[in-house]
Subunit: 358 residues, 2 copies
């Protein structure tokens, strides 16, 4: 079994994308009303654990994250030891990926989101002050999402709002704006994380692919569409205080997208007058992206050049994506970065993005 | 009115993406059977001119391409003068974008494809030996497409097969393989050009966007999905002689996509055993991409680095995308390339890709 061999280099890091798992839907029952408990019992205790990383697939999770009787990421002691104690990281943000956004029953979705947040607070955040978490919401119901944000905002252990990358409509649409306004009102970034099921549209504009490798590749294309939507619809003009964090999106596609968007905005800006400066400037100001999984070229020089093409050292946030398995024992940090760049990546950018509790 | 001011630097160039336009659907009638002439007269002489570049939009076509009484690109004399005589280019490949792939009536689509090709041969290719053309086919009916390829293959003035980038299914699907086999059998590359309507799926994985700038940006995402499909489905293993040309796709996204595909193929190659080496190697061998429209960064150095990240000087083909308007009077060629790179880009790569008639 491999171990996390990068302990030395992560001292003081803030790990901005760590996945704690719901071990069984039963742990959420104490946080659900009698009505929803009955409803779920009748439905056979359906689990909403997503299947992006099938639990029984050997390559879906790091070996050290597999414990006896728990799915990877479901054991707080193991997570704290492996993500924090052994690496020297000083903080981790828990993104509990649970299938709330996939529910068509909006009231059930809202109840489940709230139950997950209650459970995260009790079972995780109360256990170690180095843990922070995202607020799970049901983006399909902005009013319920806003209510959930309001309910958590006073608890400084929740540091952002979590949305899925595949949504029923592009995330820039006015329909979602109340979520962004509520988040910004409380100084919370909105994290858009890979996953979600869309509203039946295929994961690529080319149509329904055959193989999982195609679907996995398409995650990056989905994020590209969402970023263009956020900019074109004017979300950042409407909510100037908003920060958006892309998680598990990759980022090597970002320079090319900014070039294309800048160029075509020059020709078409008449239709989006609220985009009143170069889109790339707006993106550099408002977008943050987590590190792993990183689509790394074989030659390090090309990665360093690509990071330079972003033209900002403020955008990348360190993440391990624990317990998922994206890199080898050398660890999650690319080599070849300057000490300043490493400092920004490991914790300084996160400290500028989030308001952490003491 | 601006003129094409890049005459000096294009001597000997092969312009691999030039758009001749059907001036009126009536010019196709002589090439249609009585049945289809009656059918279309009853339907009110429907034009299949696509609306990607609305004729009456001032920014859709270069000013010099606008003549009296013709849509841009519909006057052979003007096109020959502006694309060839004035620039010193030695050859142009005509990609006649006509809405054949959008027709649900497969028999009508096949008849229209054939009529367009007959008309292109008579009205354009017979006029100047420097003109070559793509074979318009109805990809929704691979059998009809194969028949059309067989009908044109002996005419060396047709140098490739033209497919749209938005298709009813991803282009790698086995359904389309007969088209690739027929093309390769006759030494014809398959050009996948921006456009087409898909089968109702949105142009981004995020869903239906609001603004045209979003749809325009999404073209690059669609090509990414199509490239992954071609590789993952094993098209290049099945048809090893096939070359695919992406036209109006942009290419600055290519390095990032190859890095992501190589990485995830390493984890998931078991499901696509026909992909028996790094996907980036397959892509470099089989894919060619036209130059314009180019998503250029503000600093030339970054473009030069991105072209270097492709790790091949064989892939880019010169194109002006005439009569569309993507660059200013400085011309379509990026600066900063070595003389060898310019030579490859302007004509040598095209000569290795296409078999031109004398």
């Amino acid at each position: 079994m491999k171990t996390l061999a990068f302990s030395g280099c992560l001292a003081g890091a803030i790990d901005c994308d760590v996945h704690n798992a719901v071990p069984s839907v039963k742990v959420l029952y104490p946080y659900l009303s009698d009505y929803w408990q009955d409803f779920m019992a009748e439905a056979g205790d359906p689990s909403l654990e997503p299947n992006y990383y099938p639990v029984n697939s050997a390559i879906a999770a790091r070996p050290e994250a597999r414990g006896a009787g728990f799915p990877p990421g479901a054991d707080p002691e193991a997570l704290i030891a492996q993500v924090l104690d052994r690496t020297g990281a000083k903080r981790a943000i828990l993104n509990c990926l649970y299938g709330v956004p996939a529910l068509y029953n909006e009231y059930w979705a809202a109840a489940m989101a709230s139950a997950v947040n209650d459970w995260v607070a009790d079972a995780w955040l109360s256990r170690d002050p180095r843990l922070s978490a995202s607020i799970v919401v049901a983006p399909q119901s902005p009013d319920a999402a806003v209510a959930e944000i309001e309910r958590r905002a006073a608890d400084g252990r929740f540091v952002q709002v979590l949305l899925p990358a595949r949504t029923q409509m592009p995330v820039g649409r006015r329909y979602y704006w109340p979520i962004y306004e509520a988040a910004a009102r409380h100084g919370l970034p909105v994290c858009i994380h890979a996953g979600g099921g869309g509203a039946g549209q295929p994961p690529t504009p080319a149509g329904w692919p055959t193989y999982y490798v195609e679907e996995y590749l398409a995650v990056a294309q989905g994020f590209q569409g969402q970023l263009v939507s956020l900019v074109a619809e004017g979300v950042f003009a409407k909510v100037p205080g908003l920060k958006v964090v892309f998680a598990e999106s990759g980022f090597t596609w970002l320079p090319s997208l900014m070039w294309r968007l800048d160029k075509n905005w020059k020709g078409l800006r008449r239709e989006v007058p609220w985009v009143d400066r170069l889109p790339s400037e707006i993106i550099r100001e408002h977008l943050r992206i987590t590190l792993q999984p990183l689509d790394e070229p074989s030659e390090l020089r090309r990665l360093v050049e690509t990071i330079d093409h972003i033209q900002s050292d403020q955008m990348l946030l360190f993440s391990s994506d624990y317990p998922h398995w994206h890199y080898d024992a050398e660890g999650p940090l690319p080599a070849g970065l300057s000490p300043d760049a490493v400092r920004n990546l490991l914790f300084a950018n996160a400290e500028r993005t989030y308001r952490f509790h003491a």
